[in-house]
Symmetry: C2
Subunit: 90 residues, 2 copies
DNA sequence: TCGTAGTTTAGATATTTATCTAAATAGATA
DNA sequence: TATCTATTTAGATAAATATCTAAACTACGA
């Protein structure tokens, strides 16, 4: 997946809130769902977009699927942003 | 303008290419337009979104409108990304 | 003040996206 | 095996978005 999916994924406020929630650590799809007044199907859709963008990983355990932050993609994103900051011209 | 406009603005590949082109320095709307196989109206639309998101500024001179990178918003964006990197938990 | 060059605005259209409900799947346990 | 729980998939709809052409605006120069 290229940067395009990453930016598309970050363009939605719900998805950014999910990422913020995951800073607490791994959470199941149900846990995440409970944080929002949206259907489980909708959250599942958002999670799949975050997963395609490699912003989160999933880990299956028993009946649950746990999601967690994929820090490496944020590192790359950070590099991309840096090129536009002062003192990084050309 | 909050972060939302910033992320929405970055979600489009044409707008990201415009930003990359502006790393060279200020460019007129026409210059920018010449870089893409899109109508001037379409480029104008993208520029207005980048402007609303504060990612670029505009400067009028003579008949021209010059656009340039607004580095301060990239600084803020950089901070936002940092919180998701390793060692910045909770 | 008229014309022209640079740019934006208006209006239309096709595509994408966020959301829902209902149905399907997968895995654990009784 | 039957059932329950957690989650995803399918299908539909409404809203948002990227693009175009044509028209309008703005400011300079003749």
């Amino acid at each position: 997946m290229g940067f395009h999916e990453t930016f598309k994924a970050l363009a939605d406020p719900v998805r950014r809130e999910i990422l913020t929630y995951l800073k607490q650590g791994e959470k199941s799809a149900g846990d995440i769902s409970d944080q929002f007044e949206l259907s489980k199907a909708t959250i599942s859709h958002h999670l799949s977009i975050l997963k395609k963008a490699d912003l989160v990983y999933e880990r299956k355990e028993k009946n649950f699927i746990y999601y967690g932050l994929n820090t490496s993609v944020f590192e790359e994103l950070s590099l991309w942003v840096t090129q536009f900051k002062k003192g990084h011209n050309e």
